[in-house]
Symmetry: C2
Subunit: 196 residues, 2 copies
DNA sequence: GCCGGGCGACGATACGTAGCGTATTGACAG
DNA sequence: CTGTCAATACGCTACGTATCGTCGCCCGGC
């Protein structure tokens, strides 16, 4: 129980940036195992206390650090060609998941979800739900254009798309090749009776 | 580097069983967080040394303990009705993943894969690959009976089935309801041009 | 002067290793 | 078949390391 919550206005932006950058750097260099609160503090030239003052745990630090990375927030494309857009998006996700620093950092964060409900909620808010709804919205857009049937189960479709990705990612299987990704998109669209 | 590897013939079966049981019990009662090597040793009335003599880490202990559980090795059904068999199998997996002690234990093991390649390999050998090939074989069986087209991409189909399950499991989303599971199976079979 | 920040010590856990008697085991002699 | 014995797995206990998360202290900028 902290007596008084800290005042965000007086927060040192410099320290904040140093901490986030240190977390990312450590993850790139030594993998998630090398990301400890003490290592972050040392590299950022910061006290552990400062980290714990503003973040509940290192998972949240990395999560915020990843959120700042621009390529992890790429918008869902809508060129009018549904299949191509899905392919672009999915291969982008695969690339993100398999490339440092995002790949190792994200898998490390996911590995902590099972004992940290608040981190779980934060990850959902920041990454999972937005991506999921963006995908659904892209399908809805196609639906409005008459390329997908009215009653198509769009949420199931998105699960069919992202599911295999996470299946391989979480189980540490080799990621989908671009060709495999294309076939995956193709099959799911076929399930929906897509008119390309 | 252990000087001499232990002699399996002289191994105490009693201790082995006590350790596996203690691991399972602890996981049921306190979740994966409560499963520590020291706690296992204490509950099993066993020395830590004995655990480390026979297992590389607690992940392997739990993995072996789960392997002994009969319901985690349920064979893939083949009643002749492909859709029903898939549904039975998948709902069984969901039930397993969401019920102690298997559910918490397995998610805990998965959370360690990212820093333990050997454990990853063991999990693949013991759980992932067998289930995957069993599912593919069930589809092949249907293929031989002419219910699935010759050129159907069976491995992709299995990924489409299991992917969403693991997607929700690893991301700690609520599991699929039986109805949702049925729809999932339905969609995937439709993708394959299944003749039921 | 208030309060965030840096320094670094601290207690609490958990991991993995090691030494030391004890007890169980498989092997062998009779 | 049975009694003996050496090998060694086992339990107990302590240790060293690592990381977490907290705390006291003083400094310095707003």
């Amino acid at each position: 129980m902290s007596a008084t919550p800290p005042n965000p206005q007086r927060r040192s932006e410099r320290s904040r940036q140093a901490i986030l950058a240190a977390a990312i750097d450590l993850c790139s260099e030594k993998g998630y195992a090398g990301v400890t609160v003490e290592a972050i503090a040392a590299r950022a030239g910061v006290s552990k206390k400062t980290i714990y003052r503003w973040w509940p745990s290192k998972g949240f630090v990395l999560l915020e650090a990843l959120g700042q990375s621009s390529d992890s927030n790429a918008p869902f494309p809508d060129t009018g060609h549904l299949g191509a857009d899905l392919y672009t998006q999915m291969t982008g996700v695969v690339h993100l998941l398999t490339t440092p620093p995002f790949g190792p950092a994200y898998i490390g964060i996911l590995s902590e979800l099972h004992h940290d409900p608040e981190l779980t909620e934060a990850v959902h808010e920041q990454f999972i739900t937005p991506r999921f709804t963006a995908a659904v919205n892209r399908l809805k857009s196609a639906q409005r254009q008459g390329r997908l049937p009215e009653g198509a189960d769009l949420e199931l479709a998105v699960e069919l798309l992202y599911g295999p990705l996470y299946y391989r990612y979480a189980l540490r299987k080799p990621p989908h090749t671009p060709e495999r990704m294309a076939e995956l998109v193709d099959h799911v669209l076929r399930t929906l009776d897509c008119r390309p």
